[in-house]
Amino acid sequence: MNILVCIKRVPATGGRVTLTPDAQEIDTRYLGFTISPHEECAVEEAIRLIEAHGGSTTALTLGPAAAEEQLRDAMAMGIENAILLEIDGREWDPAATAGAIVEAVRARGFDLLLFGNEAADTGDYQVGIRVAHALDLPCVTGVKALEVKDGKAVAKREAGGGAWEVFEVALPAVLTLKEGINLPRYPSLPGRLKAKKKPVERLQPQWQVGALEKVRLKLPTEKEHQVEILGKGPEAAPKMVEILQRLGVV
């Protein structure tokens, strides 16, 4: 089986987000970067599938030169090959991103193309579906349990209130995964060392003006509010329980 995993480099945001002075980006001076969470699980799922069934894995990202770091992270976990669709600082819209991915992977004969359900930052919910449509492949989104056998994928997703929907599609197929499908492994030190030496294929897709174009970022206005410190340690418990009674939950 030949598996592609598409990943995105995003800042590892903590408790507070601040913007650059031109409001074009999150200020990442004090932040690291990571693989967007759903996609990190897609990387793990690809590795598990290959461990179980044999075959090869390729990670792909569209991003700046620095996104090589996330490809190396994926390779440190166990992905064999990497493709970097290297772009400048401009943000590609989801249709253009999908177009560049399609161009790069069309002739490579992947059996399974894995994506995250949505990127942590832009949350566009559409790159996987657009790629599937362009390649005329079936696509199941929001997958949180997956079994692949006999040339087909059985994919489950949550349907609200604890119920699940089950899909069966023939391979080749596109699946968009959600965090929770697995618990991604930590890369081993030998894995990291090996990943450093692996080649990364670099392609430079042609910039396309998107029909959805970012003008600026904005922080949402937060409601002014004051926290009431009830006290220190267990002595504060009676005060809190009084409040719980007032709220009607005790």
């Binding site: 945001t13 903590g14 408790g15 507070r16 987000v17 969470p37 989801p94 942590a120 930052d121 832009t122 949350g123 566009d124 919910y125 559409q126 657009r130 449509h133 362009a134 079936p138 199941v140 989104t141 997703r157 349907a159 209130g161 604890g162 119920a163 699940w164 929907e165 089950v166 899909f167 069966e168 599609v169 023939a170 965090e179 929770g180 618990l183 029909a211 959805l212 174009e213 970012k214 003008v215 970022l217 904005k218 949402p220 926290v227 009431e228 410190i229 009830l230 220190k232 340690g233 267990p234 504060a236 418990a237 809190m240 329980v241 409040i243 719980l244 709220l247 009607g248 939950v249 005790v250």
Partner: protein, 328 residues
């Protein structure tokens, strides 16, 4: 004449209430542009919803009828119904709720029509081009973007506004039969696994007792479970906790987990990372129990107790027992 078309989301006839928020959003836009608001229902199972929708300002309800539509949900078939209707009815804007299914159907519509799609909008200013304000990072950040395209495709961020009824007016019903082939049904729900009965689901719990890295271990959650049990609530946790393998992922509150909306969220040893707060922002009240008075969660809480959760939480449980037995 042109119009705005809203996608009414349902699951085997059960309306997703987010559709009512979407119609409210669409109606305001329609008023601003002075065009009618119309909506599409897919499958015969949706017919009983017609009455419910009559007080949301829809002038025409289009009902897609096809024998295979009622067999099982098929995202490409649903999208093709919309593409068919778009060709016939010529909307200038098509909107859906930014739910899982709404996002999925609209992405298929966008791919099939080769149109841009702006997801999770909270504000739309028509013009040439449109200016849209969208949520990023689950709503902890916004972007202002320019949207071009012959037809504007939008999803509305969940809970960005409240659904609002207007005086009832009977919408005209237009039934149509979409052209659907086998290919549109290659992806469809093959079967369902229903929920186990009896468990309070995190999304619907009235009380959530959440734990973060500060809980210290998987065993450390016992005191949280005890408190949740006493309050008839359920236990949640942060992403740090699921990444450490202390709790299953379905307990995670956050951008990549569950969005909660309890009467009170008791957050114990949770730092308050944006990824977590996005999932907790529907909470009506927050109590933070934390050793660090400078933790982000403390500033976002209504009440805070500064101290070790392993001392404070058992004290809360003991106090609740005392109150309950006094009452008994």
């Amino acid at each position: 004449m042109t119009m705005i078309l809203g996608f009414i989301e349902h699951d085997r006839g059960k309306l997703n209430e987010l559709s009512l928020e979407m119609l409210t959003f669409g109606r305001r836009l329609a008023t601003q542009l002075n065009v009618p608001l119309q909506a599409i229902l897919i499958g015969e199972a949706a017919r009983p919803l017609v009455g419910r929708l009559s007080s949301f300002g829809v002038s025409v309800l289009h009902l897609a009828k096809h024998e295979r539509l009622d067999e099982a949900y098929a995202p490409e078939a649903w999208a093709q119904c919309m593409v068919n209707l778009m060709a016939a009815a010529n909307p200038q804007i098509v909107i859906a709720a930014g739910s899982d299914r709404g996002s999925e159907v609209m992405a298929h519509v966008a791919a099939r029509s080769d149109l841009p799609l702006a997801a999770n909008c909270i504000d739309v200013q028509p013009g040439d081009p449109f200016t849209v304000t969208r949520q990023r990072w689950g709503g902890s950040l916004l972007d202002e973007s320019r949207l071009t395209g012959a037809v504007k495709l939008l999803t509305v961020a969940p809970h960005a506004l409240q659904a609002e009824e207007v005086s009832a007016g009977e919408p005209m019903l237009n039934e149509f039969t979409p052209a659907l082939g086998d290919k549109e049904f290659r992806v469809r729900v093959a079967s369902r696994v229903e929920a186990a009965a009896g468990k309070v689901s995190l999304a619907e719990a009235k009380v959530v007792v959440g734990g973060g890295r500060g809980v210290g271990s998987a065993e450390g959650f016992k005191v949280l479970e005890e408190l949740a049990g006493l309050l008839g609530g359920t236990v949640g946790c942060s992403r740090a906790v699921t990444s450490l393998g202390w709790r299953p992922h379905h307990d995670q509150v956050g951008q990549t987990g569950t969005r909660i909306a309890p009467e009170i969220y008791i957050a114990c040893g949770v730092s308050g990372a944006t990824q977590h707060m996005v999932g907790a922002k529907g909470s009506k009240r927050i109590l933070a129990v934390n050793t660090d008075p400078e933790a982000t969660i403390v500033a976002k809480a209504d009440w805070a107790i500064i101290g070790d959760l392993h001392e404070v939480v058992p004290a809360l449980s003991a106090e609740i027992r005392k109150v309950k037995s006094g009452r008994g």
